[in-house]
Every structure is written in structure tokens, then in C-alpha cells.
């Protein structure tokens, strides 16, 4: 930095940055790997100057003041080069000479990350480690009361239903009259939520799909994965693996003509169709895949020309009311596959979600409702949407489930919960809590990225550059130089590890409840929390 400089308002010092590079000149080998790997060019080789003073109190000895130069790694302080804390430098450093450290409280960057009047946008998460779900305990343990089950020994059917379950009376009636009975899928209660081909790199996407196929075909776990809104590779549409896939349609309708073209050639029906109305991470906001990310591959899969920006508006055009959205959209999508495929909407958690649920309850074609809470992840959103908009998932799911009970349909429309499940690593506990609060299943996204591909994002605003296409792990990049860091096979293997271990943990939680053949959906007497207000709000036990 020039010493003879004037200060601009956005001139930052190292102290102002959220992530600071801790660097040891003594250990550094000057090998260049850290600067080569840094995704944001936050560090560079720099020539430094040193003044060497040699003085003496002996008058006959001369004082000298010489200058010498030396080399080292320097962190840049420009806003656009601010370190994101991904620690790739630490990962490649052969001598542990460098690592980013979180600024404990002097971060001023946030006041300057709106250069040229553009508010901050980022990928990732809400960056709040608070979690009501983490605080929920499973307090009902069978101690001689129920037939205690052994998670390691007993057989469990960890399955849930995706689809509209008619009341027994109605079902019998339709059977007798040979009427239409809604399609229902028996699936694993942990679902990989919608992450588009485009938001994710090709290697990541393939890895997730491969892992899911493996779980189904080698381990007989009926795990399902949602495509997100970005179309679906033609080969997958025409393969038997399609039955493990929930196809998502959203306001951009990307790739849907390709899907329509593929319908006559499908070997299998997809598991379900998810109509996306909202995303928990950025409720009420849409998405935009920037033109520079729309390369040949993305363009082919989304059915658009290369190099055009692809907006997904916040709303679906032509749908102006709940009634219309529910009736028109669900009916169309059901019709596409001859009413053989469950169709359900996905909405952002909101204080208005009960209205949606009540509407669905009146419509036989509605197969369920997915609700995405504020802690959900995203590939790109305005920080203000991510940090300050949305509804926590726990209370939203609870409200909706209790409402179903009120109208007597708690066994008829499944609710799926998503958004921050396992955000602090407690996947199975969070999932089980949501199930016992009333969810029929849970959707995960970020957790899969972290566990299966080593996403470095944390709730401490680490990395969060999914929107820039520079993902250091190759998870959200369309640049082969980055996404080829990821081997789909490794991702698939980690997905398998994730689900198998999740399965063990889920059993550990439900076994003491004496449940082995059906999920404890809404079994809220098993839940407790050490917060009176939260306990009252969620209608669960207050335990201290």
C-alpha cells in the first residue's frame, strides 16, 4: 500500500476485514500454492522492506541504517479481494504457514460491500448458528414402559408416504366404485431437496444422483432427490433412475420442454413433481442465472441458447391467487403423467402458509406440501433477503400440522420440512424433531453439500461465494477447472455414507419410542425444550 495515499471512504485496513490471513514468514516456503489456489485472489506475493539499524553508544562507532527487502504473502484489503475464509490456502500449504482467522468483531467490510450501489449478494446460508431444532430433546425413552427396541438389532421400516392418502371411508368408496385413487409413494423420509443443474456443477449433480441410485438399487433405501429448477439431463429422463427423482417446476419453467419431449420415452414415472413457489433462504425473491454461467451444457439442459441470462421471477405468471395456483398448476402437472404422479407445491415458510395448506386440503390432486424455512440455503440471493426475511421452520411446521389435526386430515396430506435441517451438523436430531413436530419427511441441501462434497460454508459467513461460480470445492461452479476437483464417484459414496449413518441415528432416536414400522410423525409428547416460550409455542414439553 502506498504510504502517500489519500483515504477513500472504502479504504479498508486488515483490521476491517472479516477474515484475516494469519501468515508466518518463518514457515513459508514461498511455493506459491496458496496464491494459486485462492478463489478470490485475496493474497499475493509482496516485496516487503525492512530497515536494519545498527547503532552504538561508542562514539567511535558509526551508526548505520540500511534497507533490505524480503518476500512474503500479503492479504489484499480491497473490497473485491476480501478474504472469504475458505481456507484453501491452509489446505494446500505444505508448512501450515497460512490460514484465515475470523475477525472477532471489527469487521467493517459489511458497510462497504455495496460498491456502485449494488447491495451485497451471496450464496450459502443465513449465517446464524442459532437453532431451535438443536435445542429440542427427545425426552420420551421407553424404560420398561413400551417394548424397547434396539436400533442395532431390530428391523425398522424408516419410510414415509409422499402422496395424498384418502380417508379410509373415501378410499373404500372409490375402490368399490373403481374411482381414481391418488398416487402415493413410499419413500425414505430424508429427501435431497431441489438444487438445480446450474446452481450445482455437473460433477456435483451427477454425484448426488449416483449416490441416490446406489442407495435405492444396492441398499434398498428409497431415497429421493429433487432436481431443482434447471431441467434434467435427457439421459436421466429416459433412464430407470427417473423414479428416484422429483422433478421441480418453478417460475422460470427451464428445461420443461425437454421434459415434455422426453415423456413418451420415459421408462419410469418420476417420483413426484414439486412446484416451487418459494425458497426459504430468499422468500418472495426470484433467481437469476447470469449469462456468463449459461455455458453450452447448461443451455442444452435448460433448453435455451448459450450466454443469455435466465431469470426465475419471484412469482409464476398467470397465477394470481392461491386457488388458481393450486387448482390450475397442480391439475396441469398431474395431467402430464396421467394422474399417476404425485404433485405438490413447495413454499417458503411464512405466516401465510396455513392458507396454502387449507387450500390444498380441499384439493384431491394435491399430494402434499413442502415448506422451506428461513435457514435454507441458496446459490444466490440478496443478503437482506437471506438474513432478514423468512420464517423459522419449526413453528411453521408445527402450526401447519396442528391445523391438519384440527381439520382431521393429519394422516392425509404429508408436510415436508426443509431449511437448515442439520445446519450445525445435527442432521438426524433435527430431522427427527421436525418429524415429531408433524413433518412427514425432511429435505436437505446444504448438509448434503457439506457432507458429500466438503462445502466449506459455515454459519460464520465463510466462503458463501456460490453465486460467483468460483466455488473452491467445485460444487457450485460451471468452470471445469473447478468442478473437476470433484469426482462424482466420491460424492456418491459420501451420499451413501450420509444416508446410511443417518438411518442408524434416526433408529437410535425412534427405537426408544417403540417405533419400528411407522415414523413417529407428530409424536410431540416425545419432545421437550428448555425454553418455556418455545415449549408453549410448539406445544411440546418444557424441560429443565
Amino acid at each position: 500500500m502506498s504510504s502517500n495515499r489519500s483515504l477513500e471512504p472504502s479504504a479498508l485496513s486488515l483490521n476491517d476485514l472479516p477474515w484475516q490471513i494469519r501468515y508466518s514468514n518463518d514457515r513459508c516456503t514461498l511455493c506459491g500454492q496458496c496464491t494459486a489456489v485462492c478463489p478470490v485472489q485475496a493474497i499475493e506475493l509482496k516485496v516487503f522492506q525492512k530497515r536494519i539499524l545498527k547503532t552504538s553508544v561508542q562514539p567511535e562507532k558509526k551508526h548505520t541504517a540500511d534497507y533490505d527487502s524480503f518476500y512474503g504473502i500479503r492479504q489484499k484489503t480491497r473490497v473485491e479481494n476480501a478474504c472469504i475464509g475458505c481456507a484453501m490456502c491452509a489446505m494446500v500449504c505444505p508448512n501450515d504457514a497460512i490460514a484465515p482467522v475470523k475477525n472477532p468483531g471489527l469487521d467493517r467490510l459489511k458497510f462497504h460491500i455495496n460498491q456502485n450501489g449494488i447491495p451485497r449478494r451471496r450464496g450459502g446460508r443465513r449465517n446464524s448458528s442459532q437453532s431451535v431444532l438443536d435445542r429440542i430433546k427427545f425426552i420420551r425413552i421407553s424404560m420398561l414402559t413400551d417394548p424397547a427396541l434396539d436400533a442395532g438389532r431390530h428391523e425398522f421400516e424408516m419410510r414415509t408416504l409422499l402422496g395424498r392418502v384418502l380417508s379410509p371411508r373415501e378410499n373404500m368408496k372409490r375402490l368399490k366404485e373403481k374411482g381414481w385413487i391418488p398416487p402415493v409413494r413410499e419413500i425414505y423420509p430424508l429427501i435431497i431437496g431441489g438444487m438445480s443443474f446450474g446452481a450445482l456443477s455437473p460433477t456435483m449433480w451427477e454425484g448426488l444422483q449416483m449416490g441416490v441410485a446406489y442407495l435405492n438399487e444396492e441398499l434398498s433405501m428409497p431415497v429421493r432427490i429433487c432436481t431443482g429448477e434447471g431441467g434434467c439431463p435427457p439421459r436421466l429422463l429416459r433412464s430407470r433412475f427417473l423414479k428416484y427423482v422429483i422433478l421441480q417446476i418453478a417460475s422460470g419453467y427451464f428445461g420443461w420442454d425437454e421434459i415434455i419431449h422426453a415423456i413418451p420415452h420415459m421408462k419410469e414415472d418420476p417420483c413426484a413433481i414439486e412446484i416451487k413457489y418459494g425458497q426459504g433462504a430468499k422468500p418472495g425473491d426470484g433467481g437469476l442465472l447470469m449469462w456468463h454461467k449459461v455455458n453450452k451444457l447448461i443451455a442444452a439442459i435448460r433448453g435455451v441458447p448459450q450466454g443469455v441470462s435466465l431469470p426465475s421471477p419471484p412469482t409464476h405468471q398467470t397465477q394470481y391467487s392461491i386457488e388458481e395456483s393450486v387448482a390450475k398448476m397442480i391439475l396441469s402437472m398431474s395431467m402430464a403423467w396421467g394422474f399417476r404422479v404425485p404433485v405438490y407445491p413447495k413454499i417458503s415458510a411464512s405466516s401465510t402458509s396455513l392458507a396454502v395448506l387449507n387450500n390444498l386440503a380441499r384439493n384431491d390432486y394435491a399430494s402434499g406440501l413442502a415448506i422451506d424455512g428461513e435457514d435454507g440455503g441458496t446459490g444466490a440471493a440478496y443478503t437482506v433477503s437471506m438474513d432478514h426475511m423468512g420464517h423459522p421452520i419449526a413453528s411453521c411446521i408445527r402450526d401447519n400440522y396442528l391445523n391438519l389435526i384440527k381439520i382431521g386430515k393429519q394422516n392425509e396430506i404429508p408436510i415436508f420440512a426443509g431449511g437448515g435441517v442439520g445446519k450445525n451438523g445435527n442432521l438426524s436430531a433435527n430431522a427427527a424433531a421436525l418429524i415429531m413436530l408433524g413433518a412427514s419427511g425432511v429435505q436437505i441441501g446444504k448438509y448434503a453439500m457439506q457432507a458429500a462434497a466438503g462445502c466449506v460454508g459455515t454459519e460464520e459467513d465463510r466462503c458463501n461465494v456460490c453465486n460467483l461460480g468460483i466455488c473452491p470445492k467445485g460444487i457450485t461452479s460451471q468452470d471445469p477447472r473447478l468442478y473437476r476437483r470433484l469426482d462424482p464417484e466420491d460424492v456418491a459414496q459420501r451420499i451413501v455414507d450420509l444416508f446410511v449413518s443417518f438411518d442408524t441415528e434416526l433408529k437410535k432416536i425412534v427405537a426408544p419410542l417403540g417405533r419400528s414400522t411407522s415414523l413417529p410423525i407428530g409424536m410431540s409428547d416425545a419432545l421437550g425444550i428448555d425454553d418455556l416460550a418455545a415449549a408453549e409455542r410448539l406445544s411440546i414439553k418444557y424441560v429443565v
Binding site: S2, T29, Q41, L45, R153, P234, R484, R485, D490
Partner: protein, 776 residues
């Protein structure tokens, strides 16, 4: 004692079942009394035949008739033999620690659960969860369970030791002799089974072949077993070796190492790619090589690549010089010991290297020197300029036949004529005055430029430009004649007409130019008190000269903050001149200057120094003017395309601006003569000073020789050929290539380079950049 007859006990008294606790007491009472053979008629009492350790090492034989009850023989002791004459209830031999138990019928659930020693012989089949949680204590023989028939479900769960033999006698061959989901969680022990063993936990146990030793053990034991249950006749049918299978627990190591699941690589090849086609999910759209690439990559896989940007940017000094002198190139010559050439080069750009660069110019090049960034002294270009005084005339290009008239022999006009002459054209200089040099010679005080220097350089000009016509009056007619006689005309008439204030009494004041001209000839007599209206640099020159000629009180007034700067201002301040502002002149009287607020600044001489305007009366109507100055386009061309205008006639500026404009006009004219577009090559963009590393230089050095200046010059944007990049590159990817004509180049081997940018970071001159690699 051994042959002692059986004492018969009944579990019933007075037609009522006695409690388990009481029956236990009775049995123990007899044992304590030395009885060792006891027959108990059970009525479902719990735990008959267990915990008989009071018998010590004696053999004890309990025979149970009737209903044996749950947990018969539990906590069984070494030396105890229990024989249940009919079927047995749950948990026979539970926690058996050594007893031999014979059941002559079927046994229900939990046979031998938790047993660690002893032998249990079942003459029928057993229920669920037999042989579960059994262990083997290394101090003793392992527990054994012999079953004639088959087992119920969940056999051998968590079995940790012991041997079970399931004979499968009379078993439906289709059904497993071990029941449903046997051996889950098995960690030790072995199971011999005769018949179908499907469905056991492969994760925990594995079938192994029956060795001769195993077989012999089995046959020996089988004979004993059959005799115990009195079914010796079955021996031949149970002794067919091929009917038997042996299952063993997998070791802990085997469990972690072995995976019954296929590897993901296999799944990808055999299932994934087979269903989707070669290349998997998107193999039809894009070919992606299998496997992953390293985090640090080379060649095409680098995200960023270094580029050696020699000559792509202009140094700040050159970019700042209105004359356009490539300053740092000259220092580069100095570094290469071409000092003379470096000095001589000045004459290619300016006729006044010493006068202007060395003395009069405020040196924008030095003001923009990168070194200022770190508070280091700028490279002193004045040394190089002053050295230019003695340089001999440069060579000119071959003569062309083109004639260009230059009106005005000031610095701008001389510069234009100089450049045209260099390019081989014939330039004629016209001036109304009797000397050349314009304001340099006529108004700039001698204190600012040594007389000899100026004269030497003017002499050189006269030598170089032979056709100089002085004392030429110029009117419209003369101008029109010149315009038509010459191919091109350059108007460099300067701004010689002083601007005067429109205030009463202005006739009492003198213009700065008139004063300075007179002063230069020592003819001015300013008196003791001088007031100068207009505190610019010319005003400062007036102040300095007035002081030289005897003035004691010198006041410069201005309506705004004085614009004076640099040497001129310092000199004025040094002679005690005071600056006052804002002051608004109302009128000028014999007494001095009267300000609008009524104050009178007493003065013997009042000098008006608020700038000059050109005298353009000689121009014809085809030459457009604007606000008293000649209007020109970006090429310094007037509204008449064959007439150019430069210098103060176009707008006020520095001497170097006029010299630069003269050079520019000459270049444009030369290009037009050559039939080229007036646009030359676009100037290079100025280098970003942040690219320069000043840390290599001693910041306290104030170079005062040409040599030191050369070595302290950071050579912004021009490679010093220091080779630091070669040394710094961690991969040894940079090589210096010698090119023809003394040229050189630093080249990167892409197959070695990792794109770390160290070359960029270390480069003292900012030549290396790191740019994103082209998209794949």
C-alpha cells in the same frame, strides 16, 4: 453318595402349587443335607436346578418331571446335571455357568441366553432367541448348545462365544433351520447347522468349510448328545458330512474391512453408465474426463496465467509530459551506460532540453513519478535536461519538398519548426519581434534561467532552422499570402497582448509583460512600493524583478486564492512579497490601488498581471476564434484545414504544453503529407502505479547524479531485465529468451507454471500481470 437314590420332591403340597421360593428352599435343604440326586415334579416353578453351589465339587443330578417353569437351570453350576424329562419353558440354561442340561422335548424361547459355560442338549426344537448373548470366558471351555430339531427366529443375536449345533432333524428343507434373521450382531463363536441356513446376517457371520478336526469334534459330540437324549438310532442319518455347514463370526477386522456392498466405482461402471450410456448423466452433451484434477494445476487447467506485459503501458512520467518525452526510456539508457544517447534523445522531442526540462518546466513528469507514492524523492529529470545544453544538432530525415510556415518564433513555434525540420520538411519561422524564443527570451526573468544556457539553445535553434524571418509585421494580407505560399501554416503567435482591468485610472498601471520586458533590459524603475494586481506566477516574476530593481514593499493582490506555485512563488516570497486576497480593485490613482472597501494600497508602480490574450487581428475570416483564442480540433487544426494553431494563441498553458502542441501539430502535418490518417497509434494506457514494487529501493536516497537517478528509477512498465521473476518463480517456469537485435523476452512454460502470480508480486517494474485463463 454317587449311587444315592433319587429323592422325590413335588412342587405341589396339599394340592396347591408351592411358590418358587419355597421349592428352592426345599431343594437347597436337601443339598445341604448331602443329597445329590433329586427328582422334582415341577409345577412351573422358576429357576429349578439353578445355583446348586452348596454341593461343592460333587456331582448333582436334578431330574425334572412335570412342568419345568422358566429359567430352569439358570446360574447353572459346574457339576450340576439337570434333566428335564418333557418340554422346557423359556430361558433354559439362562446365564449358565457350567451345568449340563438335557431337555427331552422342545424348549421355548431364550435357550441359553447369556450363558458362558455348560452344555445344553435339546431333544427337540427351540423357540426364538436361543443362544443369544452367549460368551466364552477364556478360563473355561465354551458353552455348547445341541438342538436335535431347529431354531426359532432371531437365533444367536449378539452371540459372542460358544458353539451351537442345530441338527435340523425332521425340518422342512425349504425353511431355514436357524429361523428368521439369525446371528445378527454375532461377534464370536460358531454354529454347526444341518440343512438350510439362508438368511443369517452376512455382515456378522460367514460360512466356513468343515475341517476334519471340526468334523471329528462334531461326531464325537453328536454321539454323546444322541445318547443323552436317548436317540442313538439317529446317528447314521445325522452323520452325513455333506449335510453339515459351519458358520463362524466375522472378526472385528473383517467387519470393517469387508464390505458386502459393491464399490461405487463398480456401481458406476456396471449400473450407472450401463443404464445411462457411456460418460454417465451428461455423457451425450459433454465429455468430462473421469477422476478429479489436483487443486494446484498447470497448463490449460490453471485458472490464472501470467503475462509479460513489456511495452504495453506508458510510464507515468512519460504520460504526464505534455511534450511527450519518454522519460523513463532515457533513464533506461542511462542504466545501460548510454548516457550520451539518453541526453541526445531529448532533442528528438524538444528544442529546449536544458532551458525548459532543465530550468523552466514545473516538471509534471516528476510530479507524477511513482516514487512519490511512498514519499520517496522523484527521479530528478532536471539533471538530464540540463545536460542537454551541449548536445549537438540531431540528424534530419531526407528532405521533402513541403514547405510549412510557422508564425511566431516562441517555444511552440520553434518546437513545430524543429520537428518539421527533423522530418525533412522545410519550415520558415516568422516573428514580429527581433529575437526568437518568445516569452522565454523576453519576459522570463534571468533569475530563473542562466543566460548562457538560453543563448546556447537559441543558437542551436538558429543553426537547425535556417529560415527564420524576424521583424515581420503581420496583417491579414501578409497572412493570406503566407497561407497560399506554403503547404501548411502553423499559427504560434502566442498571447502577447496583456489583459488590463476595466477600471478608472488604468492608464496609471503598467502591464506585466511591458514591465518584465523593460526589467529584463534593466530599464524599469519601479520605485519603493509596488502593487501587483493578479498573484499568478507571472505576478511573482514581476515581484522578483521589482525587488531586484529596488522595490522594498511588494504586494500581490488577487480576487481569489493566489494561483502562484512552485519556484516562482518561492522566489517572490523570498524577496519579501506579500500576498493579499480577496481584494477587489475599484480604481487606480496616482497614489496607488483603491479597493472597493475604500482601502488604498499605496504604490509607486502598479503592475497588472491578469494574463495575456493573443493578438489575432492578422487572421482572415476563415479562421474561427472563440473567446479571443483560435479554435482548434483535437489535431490542433483550425477551421481552415491547412492552418494549424498551437500554444497560447489557442489557450493559456505551460511552455511544455506549447512545445508539445508544436510537436503534435508537426506530427499530424507529417502524417497528412505522407498520405496517412492524422491519427497516429493510440497512446498506451498509463500503468497502474500499484504494480510497481518500490521496496527494492532505499527510500531515503536522493539521487543527484545521472547514474544514481538511473538506478533509482523504477522503470515503470518497462522491464529492467533484472531476472528477479526467474529467481522467484517457485516452479522454475520462467525463462529469459534472447531475441535478435539485442532484444529479450521473459517467457513462461505453461506446463510448469501453476499461476501463483509470484512473478507479478515480485516484479519491480510492474511488467508481469496475472490474468484469468481463457475459458475451456
Amino acid at each position: 453318595m454317587k449311587n444315592q437314590a433319587f429323592i422325590k420332591l413335588s412342587g405341589r403340597k396339599d394340592n396347591k402349587r408351592i411358590p418358587s421360593r419355597v421349592l428352592e428352599e426345599i431343594i437347597h435343604h436337601h443339598i445341604k443335607n448331602g443329597r445329590r440326586n433329586i427328582e422334582v415334579e415341577g409345577y412351573g416353578q422358576h429357576g429349578i436346578g439353578g445355583r446348586l453351589w452348596d454341593a461343592g465339587a460333587d456331582e448333582t443330578h436334578i431330574r425334572i418331571i412335570g412342568q419345568s417353569g422358566q429359567r430352569a437351570g439358570s446360574f447353572g453350576h459346574f457339576g450340576t446335571r439337570i434333566e428335564i424329562m418333557g418340554p422346557a419353558s423359556d430361558d433354559v440354561g439362562w446365564l449358565n455357568a457350567g451345568a449340563e442340561i438335557i431337555v427331552h422335548g422342545n424348549a421355548s424361547n431364550g435357550v441359553m441366553n447369556g450363558a458362558a459355560q455348560g452344555k445344553v442338549y435339546i431333544g427337540g426344537s427351540i423357540g426364538a432367541r436361543g443362544m443369544t448373548m452367549t460368551k466364552r470366558n477364556p478360563r473355561f471351555e465354551p458353552p455348547e448348545l445341541w438342538v436335535l430339531g431347529s431354531s426359532g427366529d432371531y437365533f444367536g443375536e449378539f452371540m459372542a462365544g460358544g458353539i451351537a449345533v442345530i441338527c435340523g432333524h425332521n425340518k422342512d428343507p425349504k425353511a431355514s433351520v436357524l429361523g428368521y434373521r439369525p446371528l445378527v450382531g454375532m461377534v464370536g463363536g460358531r454354529v454347526f447347522a444341518r440343512g438350510n441356513i439362508e438368511g443369517f446376517s452376512q455382515k456378522d457371520a460367514k460360512p466356513i468349510s468343515v475341517s476334519d478336526e471340526d468334523w471329528n469334534w462334531l461326531m464325537t459330540g453328536l454321539e454323546v448328545f444322541l445318547s443323552k437324549i436317548q436317540k442313538k438310532e439317529l446317528l447314521p442319518s445325522l452323520s452325513i458330512r455333506s449335510d453339515w455347514q459351519l458358520i463362524e463370526a466375522r472378526s472385528a477386522r473383517e467387519k470393517t474391512d469387508s464390505s458386502e456392498k459393491p464399490s461405487m466405482a463398480r456401481f458406476r461402471n456396471q449400473v450407472w453408465d450401463r443404464e445411462l450410456g457411456r460418460g454417465g448423466l451428461i455423457g451425450d452433451l459433454e465429455e468430462i474426463e473421469r477422476g478429479s484434477i489436483p487443486v494446484i494445476t498447470r497448463g490449460d487447467l490453471r485458472r490464472y496465467i501470467p503475462v509479460w506485459e513489456q511495452g504495453r503501458y506508458m510510464a507515468p512520467c512519460e504520460a504526464a509530459c505534455p511534450t511527450g518525452i519518454p522519460v523513463q526510456e532515457r533513464w533506461s539508457m542511462v542504466r545501460q551506460d548510454n548516457v550520451d544517447e539518453a541526453i541526445a534523445m531529448g532533442l528528438q522531442y524538444t528544442p529546449f532540453p536544458a532551458t525548459v526540462c532543465g530550468w523552466l518546466c514545473p516538471s509534471p513528469c516528476m510530479a507524477s513519478c511513482t516514487r512519490n507514492q511512498n514519499h520517496m524523492s522523484p527521479i530528478n529529470v532536471k539533471l538530464l535536461g540540463k545536460a542537454g545544453e551541449t548536445v549537438k544538432l540531431p540528424k534530419t530525415a531526407p528532405k521533402s519538398k513541403k514547405k510549412i510556415a510557422v508564425i511566431g518564433a516562441g517555444p511552440g513555434g520553434i518546437s513545430a519548426a524543429w520537428q518539421l525540420t527533423l522530418k525533412g520538411h522545410t519550415a520558415t519561422l516568422f516573428d514580429t519581434g527581433d529575437t526568437i524564443g518568445g516569452k522565454i527570451s523576453s519576459v522570463i526573468p534571468g533569475s530563473r534561467i542562466p543566460k548562457d544556457t538560453l543563448e546556447t539553445e537559441l543558437k542551436r535553434v538558429k543553426e537547425f532552422i535556417p529560415d527564420i524571418r524576424l521583424g515581420q509585421a503581420m496583417d491579414k494580407k501578409d497572412f493570406l499570402k503566407i497561407k497560399y505560399d506554403y503547404d501548411f501554416t502553423i499559427v504560434a503567435a502566442g498571447a502577447k497582448k496583456p489583459r488590463m482591468l476595466p477600471v478608472p485610472g488604468i492608464e496609471h498601471a503598467v502591464s506585466a509583460n511591458d514591465f518584465l520586458e523593460a526589467a529584463k533590459k534593466d530599464k524599469a524603475k519601479p520605485g519603493k512600493r509596488v502593487v501587483i494586481i493578479g498573484a499568478g506566477n507571472v505576478g511573482c516574476d514581476v515581484a522578483t524583478e521589482a525587488h531586484r530593481l529596488g522595490a522594498k514593499t511588494i504586494t500581490l493582490i488577487d480576487i481569489q486564492k493566489p494561483a502562484a506555485f512552485g519556484k516562482e512563488k518561492e522566489d517572490a516570497e523570498a524577496v519579501g512579497a506579500t500576498f493579499r486576497w480577496p481584494c477587489f480593485t475599484k480604481e487606480i490613482t496616482k497614489a496607488g490601488v483603491v479597493l472597493t472597501d475604500g482601502e488604498v494600497l499605496k504604490a509607486d508602480t502598479v503592475v497588472v498581471s491578469i494574463g495575456d490574450v493573443p493578438d489575432l487581428t492578422f487572421l482572415d475570416e476563415s479562421i474561427k476564434t472563440e473567446k479571443g483564442f483560435i479554435f482548434v480540433d483535437a489535431y490542433n487544426r483550425t477551421s481552415d484545414p491547412r492552418v494549424f494553431a498551437i500554444g497560447d494563441a489557442v489557450g493559456p498553458g505551460l511552455i511544455t504544453d506549447a512545445i508539445g502542441a508544436g510537436r503534435k501539430a508537426a506530427i499530424v502535418i507529417d502524417r497528412i503529407i505522407d498520405g496517412k490518417s492524422p491519427d497516429g497509434d493510440a497512446p498506451l494506457p498509463r500503468i497502474d502505479k500499484q504494480r510497481i514494487s518500490l521496496e527494492y529501493y532505499n527510500p531515503k536516497n536522493r539521487a543527484d547524479t545521472l547514474k544514481d537517478c538511473g538506478s533509482d528509477c523504477a522503470s515503470c512498465g518497462k522491464c529492467k531485465d533484472c531476472g528477479i521473476c526467474v529467481a522467484v518463480c517457485p516452479e522454475g517456469a520462467i525463462e529469459r529468451i534472447e531475441k535478435d537485435k539485442q532484444g529479450f523476452e521473459y517467457r513462461v512454460d505453461p506446463d510448469l507454471c501453476i499461476g501463483c502470480g509470484f512473478c507479478k508480486g515480485a516484479c519491480p517494474c510492474g511488467i508481469w500481470d496475472l490474468i484469468p485463463n481463457a475459458a475451456l
